[in-house]
């Protein structure tokens, strides 16, 4: 089972993040765990890289971030929860369509489909 490292998914990280946030809000660490679980343990990325991507998405209005009210009795700094905006949902739908078309076309050329 080959490992997919961060460099290979760099161009798709934004869409993957949006996809993970589609159902419910999540903080950075949780999001990373979800990505790794969804990737069946084959996706390994430098964890710090997630945050610049989240900040860019937030700046562009695709996600909205809110600090948690308190630390809920937990030690350490507060977490920041991200949720998808309407604009983010629209981008995700467009990116999914684009990705499906890409896989169909390239898969047909390379000789394998997803």
């Amino acid at each position: 089972m080959s490992i997919i490292n961060g460099n290979k998914v760099r161009g798709h990280l934004d869409t993957m993040i949006l996809s993970m946030l589609e159902d419910r809000p999540a903080h950075g660490f949780e999001l990373l765990r979800q990505l790794e679980a969804a990737g069946d343990g084959r996706l390994k990325m430098k964890e710090g890289s997630l945050y610049p991507a989240l900040y860019r998405l937030e700046e562009a209005g695709y996600v909205k971030a809110e600090w948690e009210d308190g630390t809920s009795g937990r030690r350490g700094a507060r977490r920041r929860y991200y949720k998808l905006t309407k604009k983010g949902h629209r981008l995700l739908a467009a990116n999914r369509k684009e990705w499906t078309e890409f896989v169909e076309v390239v898969g047909a050329i390379v000789g394998a489909t997803a």
Binding site: G28, K46, E47, G48, S49, A53, G76, A77, R80
Partner: protein, 258 residues
Amino acid sequence: MNELDAHVTRIVGSVVASPQRRLAMRQELLSHLDQVYADEAARHSSQTEAIEASIRRLGDADQLIQELQSSVPFRDIVGRAFRWAVICLILEIFLALPLLAVSTLDAFVPTEPSLVTYAEQVHAARFRLMLTTMLSSQVMIAVFVFALTLLYFWQQRLIRLSRRPFLVLTLGAATTGLVVLAGGLLLNRTATGEMIVSVSYFVRWTYIAIAAALAVSVLPPIIGSQLRRYRSWRQWHVLTTDSSNGSETDAGGKLAMS
């Protein structure tokens, strides 16, 4: 963990951004590292190994600095160089707008009963629109500076005009403009009578109301945001000083980002 705190502070300290943004980045990365450390502590017997593993998982520091820097919007970087805009806006509200209002009223309708004698002397008992070069320049400068300043604050998200207040303000400004224009034209044509007095009062109080509405709606958020910026700067200063001295810093306790 002091080492994790120092590592994050060093990374975020190299990013050129506003103190507010850097504090937010720092708190979030620290929160992440706290959780990573909890993972690693369960795997490693030594604390040092767990810290090293946590830092490794975050990724190469230089690359992370570059990535974080690329996520900082340009306005956040250049915004720091334009703090003077605050002074501009305050001057605008407290100096230019009243000056503009007074000049305009003086040019249009000096017909308030207490000013009639003065007006008769100055204007030889005939009221007319006097758009002098001085007044025109004043109007243009005031409008230009005011528009630029508002635009700046809007871009900086220091003020947030929701649709309704924006609509009310725009309609108010448009109505005032029309009234001023109509009043000026009317004065040019008739120049005497009760209607002039009532128009002058209406114009005067509309101006005052608009200036007050602007001051009330714009000033408190600006003052608030400047206070928050100052507090963030202080927090950042204290945190970076603590980290460089190697003393203990309770990030979760000290940071209270809104």
